[in-house]
Symmetry: C2
Subunit: 629 residues, 2 copies
């Protein structure tokens, strides 16, 4: 037997209200691992270019990995995969918390949703028992309320993933929230809108069927050493959360400020940092399942105009997207904004990007105070930030435009607005700057879901090179030792993307690295859990396979080099101050190096031999005619 | 009185068949000089964004400069200005020969054509007498035939500008030809299609009213010194034409080979050079009016499959576009191709680019031999080159697609084809490579008519820096002394564009430079001819004004930084061999430097203060809202 996996995938057609359990194909599982990898294969096989992302024919796939629900550190995660209504291409988004663990313990590796319910619906899955329930009473409720109401019906031990009002209205920034007030999120690329398009409000899960762990003793022995190491290395993360490095981030030039225009925000960084939050607002830490770190924040603002519930506090991305990016140094505003985004079910990165975009359009006279429903959108204005989040969440006023994402919004505004829309392939760029960490240039440009930092996360290597020697031990140190070095950064991106594909499939958190942990450990844990003999090389090759599979999904949708680009502001605007004042990535050459390292053509298309080498022969028929020569 | 100018502009509305003479506004003439500058002002005032380029509302403006028709060396030129059907934005194209001189001598600085004739028509203009004549018998005739037929009717001293069959069919590559078998051309941006859209086959002109030259003695004294210098410096140009440098061009990496993919074409360059042509096919030189150089070729192929008439031979651009770009080393094929393009009235640069594009699409399996009407489009195949020119010229088969230009053709082909379409803003790039002469990166990217080499011509400075010190004496030598240097190239482009704007308005040829000649001479000649006291500074400021005026025309059409880009092949493909094997321009930074030097915003929009400084206050109201802050 193979451990780790539940061995079954649940399929639900909401149109016909039919349920189906498919036994896991373990050959496929070994090849595509699980999580976003295995889900990508399902999407590849069943959702072609002809499918509209918001039509019943699109699939919404929730998928755990073989490590989810096991003691492997930081494995409390699951992925959501679908075709994105925001970008029109491949989408994956992943989340921590306990929902993935509950899914696995309920007996499933994944749930594949197709069709569209005739009226609002939620699913209740408990230990192999699946119910399709009416959700009329939940429609319009925010994510925290929805969690409360469902639990009051099915019991407190259930874990709920749900959409808020934004997802119901098919807002392109809509997220799927899980774990209620703890505010875990599959946030990116509009996955919440797909859930809304299916009239699916929530999926509540509960389980007691822990997966088998074949070589449990060996695993626990390994963890006895490694977990204390992780804890020790991650102590700042535990104490101050992901915002712990925000002052250093500002100092390095990594933090995008004023819609990516400004180089410094020294005082603002200080008072929006994880340290400042811990000192003034932290109630307690939050740990995702099997996490020894606990970077999650539970905060509360008790007084003043920006009172919050006791619940999830903002992560680094949110601190910056609703903070520096909008030139806002009011942490209470960020914390309330974060809660509102969670309640409405809106991605905080894209929301912050949309607000910063609107502020720039306002500064430049293309949006008036009247357009903004009376809000004064000057940079950093707290009322504007809170007000726009309400408008986006409710789909009112300017929020209707901004809720389409900055690409569409800028095209509709016309004029120069597309020049200030900071996105790649329609996904708003995350809060790490390729002018500070040059490998992020290809990281964003070639991210399979668009402008995402987590699909390569190579800024981590360039930020703390010494600590990342163990992550991929075979990767030369000189590829990442100099963050402003111009050579080898394309190759760095390739390797990091492959590793991230592995982690997104096994389901591990990007914060597990600690100067000792790396791909060798992941292979060891996976081998112990599954009982298979899986090497680091096999995993890295699987990561490469998955990255190519997702790329081919996009290639079928017309993606090529012309789409692998960056906003000109990032390519050519020197900010003049801060830790990367005068640096720019050497983008064209980095991209060519990247393609070369990937075995892709100059046009950014996987070569046939690359696909065959990786066992993706079935994808050869989807190569553009031109790439088959 | 002011000399040089004729003092009158002829306006013809072909819809109503009405004629009107407008006295030249000498204040406007001093501000916008003449040629493409003065015509740009007319277009700016009268053809807004709402006008379809092929509608009767578009204007087709022929304009001489104050030097046209005078003894000023290389002044035998005129401009055609219109809104381009190929790019949708500002178009200017200019030509040598004797047509511009004849126009001036006929008593006009320019002719502005509006409306659309109800049936094929030509104009006959002789010394202030203007006739609108039936051209039904000319419709379908090629440009050489048309020249013959019109002259047999109005006399041999007439000079004819006309379209061939391509212009009649509104082909986007259509040129306006002049001077019959001597094959002079306003080739670029589809100006011939605009003429065709007006049912205007030709304009024949003849005149005997030479313009007055106010300080004739001083001018002739100056020319007595300068003309021998020009002749001496340009001796290779006189002997071997513009193809004289083709071997050096190949060696430097400036020559685009195999659709911009290949770095070397040593043997091919040798047998398609001006030297080879002079040795084997040259009948005699051709001199445009007032030209001491005579780079024009009259050639004849007497035997074999590629026989030509005795007529215009190919220039450097044509030698490369129909040669190296298509991997063709058969000079006879180029010479016949050139004649066919002239006869059909097709731009040879864009035709060569379209053929190379088709060959790449064929290589990569996106165009079949059947699609190509049985032609085997393998690289360099003579039958394919000649065959495709016929198809483009006649609008048959694949020619219908290619005749739209590579931007549209690649979009219609879909797949990866846009990756191989080498154009800027819809205009196929000329035959000079920014990987060899880095300033050409911004030269192409910011060219007001798209991917044109002549709107900056800064490769001349980078190619022969010592000889260009006198062109703009105030420009620092270090801006252009190193062709692969990465600094100052944006500023170089700005200055060269301003100078070229002056030359395109006074009407001087880009080959007048000789290591002694420069802006000081142009100011002197213009002052002597007009009698005004015009300094080099005034001219350079006029050049800057004109470049901004044309930019503003494009800004009104939605152009901004997002459009100022280059094909990724040029930005990032290292060719690996040849004289610029590993060099790439630093594009993003060069563009920012360029905008800065221009006084434009980061988005590529002229700042209000820039417009006001240049006396373009009327254009401020056309700034995008966002640029008015």
């Amino acid at each position: 037997m193979v451990g780790g996996y539940a061995g079954k995938i649940l399929e639900i057609d909401l149109t016909t209200r039919s349920l189906h359990e498919t036994p896991l194909d373990y050959d496929e599982a070994r090849k595509y691992l699980g999580g976003s990898g295995l889900a990508a294969k399902v999407l590849y096989d069943r959702v072609g270019p002809e499918v509209d992302p918001l039509s019943p024919e699109n699939l919404l796939i929730f998928m755990a990995g073989p490590l989810t629900g096991t003691p492997a550190p930081t494995s409390g995660r699951h992925a959501v995969v679908t075709k994105s209504p925001a970008t029109g291409i491949f989408a994956e988004s992943d989340s921590g918390g306990t929902w993935g663990q509950a899914l696995k313990w309920a007996g499933y590796d994944g749930i594949i949703i197709s069709g569209k319910a005739s009226s609002p619906t939620y699913l209740w899955v408990k230990d192999g028992d699946v119910r399709i329930r009416d959700a009329s009473h939940l429609w319009g409720k925010d994510s925290y309320e929805t969690d409360d109401i469902i639990k009051s019906s099915v019991g407190e031990r259930a874990v709920v993933a749900c959409i808020g009002p934004a997802g119901e209205r098919l807002c392109k920034l809509a997220a799927i929230m899980n774990d209620g007030y703890d505010g875990r999120t599959t946030g990116r690329a509009g996955v919440g809108a797909v859930m809304g398009s299916k009239n699916l409000k929530a999926i509540a899960v509960e389980g007691s069927r822990k997966p088998s762990i074949v070589r449990r003793g060996e695993l626990l022995e390994n963890l006895k050493t490694i977990i204390p190491q992780i804890k020790e290395y991650m102590v700042a993360m535990t104490k101050f959360g992901t915002g712990n490095g925000i002052v250093a981030t500002e100092a390095s030039g990594d933090m995008p400020i004023k819609n990516w225009r400004q180089g410094s925000f020294v005082e603002g960084a200080g008072v929006t940092s994880g340290q400042y939050m811990a000192e003034h607002y932290l109630v307690r830490n939050y740990h995702c399942a099997s996490c020894p770190i606990g970077c999650g924040r539970v905060i509360k603002v008790e007084n003043g105009p920006y009172k919050t519930a006791e619940g999830a506090g903002p992560e680094y991305e949110t601190l910056t997207a609703l903070g520096a990016l909008c030139l806002n140094d009011n942490l209470e505003v960020i914390m309330l904004g974060n809660e509102l985004c969670n309640r409405y079910g809106v991605d905080t990165i894209s929301a912050g990007a949309a607000i910063a975009f609107a502020m720039e359009a306002y500064e430049k006279g293309m949006i008036s105070q009247e357009d903004a429903g009376g809000l004064d959108l000057r940079w950093g204005n707290p009322e504007a930030i809170i007000g726009l989040i309400h408008q986006i969440g409710k789909g009112e006023g300017l929020g209707l435009l901004l809720g389409e994402g900055v690409r569409i919004a800028s095209e509709r505004l016309g004029g120069l607005a597309p020049e200030w829309a900071i996105h790649v392939k329609g996904l708003e760029c995350a809060m790490h700057d390729p002018r500070a960490y040059h490998s992020m240039a290809t990281g964003y440009a070639t991210g399979n879901r668009g402008g995402c930092h987590l699909q390569s996360a190579s800024y981590l290597w360039e930020r703390g090179p010494q600590a990342f020697k163990t992550a991929i031990p075979t990767m030369p140190f000189e590829w990442y030792e100099d963050r402003h070095g111009l050579e080898n950064k394309g190759k760095l991106t390739v390797n990091c993307q492959n590793l991230m594909s592995v982690m997104d499939s096994l389901k591990l958190c990007k914060f597990v690295f600690n100067g000792r942990v790396g791909i060798e450990n992941f292979a060891n844990w996976t081998s112990c859990i599954t009982g298979l003999d899986i090497s680091a090389d096999e995993l890295m090759e699987a990561g490469e396979r998955l990255y190519n599979l997702k790329r081919m999904y996009n290639v079928r949708h017309g993606i090529s080099r012309k789409d692998d680009t960056l906003p000109s502001r990032i390519l050519s605007h020197k900010r003049g101050t801060g830790g990367s004042a005068e640096f720019l990535p050497k983008f064209g050459e980095q991209l060519s190096e990247y393609y070369d390292a990937r075995g892709w053509t100059e046009e950014g298309i996987p070569a046939e031999e690359t696909l065959r080498r990786l066992g993706l022969d079935f994808a050869v028929k989807h190569l553009p005619v031109a790439a088959r020569i």
